[in-house]
Symmetry: D2
Subunit: 118 residues, 4 copies
Amino acid sequence: MSLNYKTADWKSEKHVPVIDCPDSVSGEFAVTVTVGKEIAHPNTVEHHIRWIRLYFTPEEGLPVEIACFDFSAHGEGGALTSSTGSATVTLEKSGTFTATSYCNLHGLWESSKAVTVG
Amino acid sequence: MSLNYKTADWKSEKHVPVIDCPDSVSGEFAVTVTVGKEIAHPNTVEHHIRWIRLYFTPEEGLPVEIACFDFSAHGEGGALTSSTGSATVTLEKSGTFTATSYCNLHGLWESSKAVTVG
Amino acid sequence: MSLNYKTADWKSEKHVPVIDCPDSVSGEFAVTVTVGKEIAHPNTVEHHIRWIRLYFTPEEGLPVEIACFDFSAHGEGGALTSSTGSATVTLEKSGTFTATSYCNLHGLWESSKAVTVG
Amino acid sequence: MSLNYKTADWKSEKHVPVIDCPDSVSGEFAVTVTVGKEIAHPNTVEHHIRWIRLYFTPEEGLPVEIACFDFSAHGEGGALTSSTGSATVTLEKSGTFTATSYCNLHGLWESSKAVTVG
């Protein structure tokens, strides 16, 4: 049985990770991943987004892990980590970013975005 | 685009994670996950298994993350971490374990195993 | 300000990670790390051990990360991951293992164990 | 033996993580952590910064994990993840951020920065 990664429109479903970066890139660029961009997700010890992981699949290639963001604090010590993170990336080839996210109560979610290196 | 998790017979394809635990469980039990159980995988800084992650999907439920094992040392300081790890787990319901693994050169792999709580 | 890693006798303080492996090793060997070996630690979404990380410092060398164990399930989907994990390791030189652990309410803890390669 | 977290002036030592955020905060704010801010660190499979982890210690409190950033790609598939990441954080109390970073060849490094909630 394959893992069930759900997907949906992030504007109406708060669990879906959103990938923000230019459509066309060259050199170093920023990638921001966010769960709850339009509709905020709860952030409590009982119910929270634990992480977002970012992959890149070059055209005609295999997925490469780019970054993992753990959102560790959900109220402990009065601290909250929101479910968004940014990394800085360089790509040699065009391909597709895929972000996966995990809610401790509602499982695994996925979205993707194509990028052209030009 | 969904992430491409490859699968195959672990006896002939060295990348496939193997899940070892009883078929029928009650109370606390050990789960061992291994990449390269039959055919060893390289373990060098250039080519290695970086992690195995273990999920459990209860019947009629969503996936829950059980454990992540990072195999961090690939020769640095004369140390090697093999691509196997064990966790200790308790389940209330029957369902399916799924292990995913990541090779820095050959991407994502997946396998699963059903367990009955009785 | 340095991070406050607390230490204590694991037989009387439940947060201290315990490192179990032979005192003298050669070839591949198992290392098990456990929080709550003598006195169980709670395992609930509100209060749990989130991870144990294992390092090795060769004599006259710098610390190398060996493994990270994330204990991800604290009741979600009826699943519990206990705060113990095992890795398989090879060392070229004698030195010291150090385990660090994290309780979401009671912070960072540390212990260590010398190993001789012979 | 405690883990040896080294520290130094980040303007002259490329391994030291730098924490960028306002000195005085209220509500949600961004924290950026960077290794190699002044002097770039190598980013190859043989020699790279693997992660930065961010903690917050409230005054008279224990450390809380805020975020972990894994920089996963060091050339695989033509992709590079630079050793910088950003999180979004809310704090109730004043205290100190501490960032720890790990170089696969040169071990563990640490720095900290006080923040006032006002």
